[in-house]
Amino acid sequence: MDHRSYESWLLEDEHLTPEQDRELRQHLRNCAQCAALAHANRTLRAAPMSVPAKGFTVRFQARLAAERKAQRIRSTAGLSLILVVGVSVALVLAPLYETYLSSTPTQLAAIWITNLMLAGSALRAIGPSGNLLAAATVLVPPYVWALSFALFAGVAALRIFSSRRFTRYLQARGHSEAATSGDQR
């Protein structure tokens, strides 16, 4: 048998028969390359597991708590920024929409429908591409428009409400976790 077959036995970690094992041992006495490979295999198999310093889990829990705190701070900062920008934009634009702000919901709906009809007329004036929307504004009765807007407003309100609830849930969970980790410590 040639050197490559023995090398392949060593590299493939093949289970050898007693006869093959004897043959390999014989070869290892004469082949430095295969002997080095066998030695490397033995050293690798004898290598122990390195163990972390005591208190690894406690250190992990502290790190997790610190990460959660940082995440909460980031979320709060992000939400505050959005809120500040939103309020600023609203304050800047408020005078422009004073009519809308002081109107009753019925008046608002009437204004929106008028605006849509105007938009439809404008599109009709632009060309054939606007015909479809113009037809829609004429064909769809005003109460359907009002219902659609109410539906959109409902969805928006639901979204705002659920995101607030979710934020509160995360905060409550964060507090309870902080309390638990405090107890464990």
């Binding site: 490979l37 290598a47 310093a53 690894f56 992990f60 997790l64």
Partner: protein
């Protein structure tokens, strides 16, 4: 359902105590993989902690058909490979020069049955750790998963996102390299032990 899967399910539902039990259970395998990959205690501790954090963040994505240990070690191995790649770009290449000076010296166990044999074993393990650090990051991960965790070639290929034939060739190459370097190291050590004598004698 086995205990481990039950803990994973509890952890997925937000039970932090269950996750802490998983950390307790797997801290040694994860730490050992990091230590064998990165070669330093401090870096290994940091990488092991970060790997558990990644696992925690991605718990919802865990496929219950897979073994949790394989998934965990796969995340750890990928993280260590990324660390080594980043280190390659940010550090001056002194890795080849580094020996085990940074690690507290492992003294032979004087109470061991054969202290001389114990010393040889320590030297061999220190040499292995040094030589391991000179392998390519992915080759190193394949060798560690193979020898410390008894992963099959298929498991290694799944863990490291490689083909089975790529794993096979990487393992062959890495072991030839390890054998060559270990042999070179032991010949140098023999010469060092008799600095005033002729190597021939």
């Amino acid at each position: 359902m086995n205990e481990e899967l039950a803990l994973v399910l509890q952890a997925q539902q937000g039970d932090d105590d269950a996750f802490a039990q998983l950390v307790e259970r797997y801290q040694t395998p994860v730490y050992n993989l990091c230590y064998r990959m990165l070669g330093e205690d401090e870096a290994a501790e940091d990488a092991a902690q970060e790997s558990f954090l990644r696992v925690y963040r991605n718990l919802a994505r865990f496929d219950r058909q897979r073994s949790f240990a394989t998934w965990l070690l796969s995340i750890t191995a990928h993280y260590c490979i990324d660390c080594l790649r980043r280190r390659k770009f940010t550090m001056i290449s002194i890795d080849a020069e580094r020996d085990d000076d940074e690690r507290p010296m492992e003294l032979p166990d004087v109470e061991a049955l054969n202290p001389e044999q114990e010393t040889v074993r320590h030297e061999e393990q220190a040499a292995l750790q040094r030589v391991l650090q000179q392998l390519d990051a992915t080759d190193r991960a394949a060798v560690v998963l193979r020898y410390w965790y008894d992963f099959s070639e298929i498991e290694i290929s799944q863990s490291l996102s490689l083909t089975v034939s790529a794993v096979k060739s990487r393992l062959h190459r890495a072991r030839r390299e390890l054998a060559r370097r270990l042999q070179a190291g032991s010949s140098e050590a023999r010469v060092e032990r008799m600095p005033y004598g002729s190597p021939v004698l």
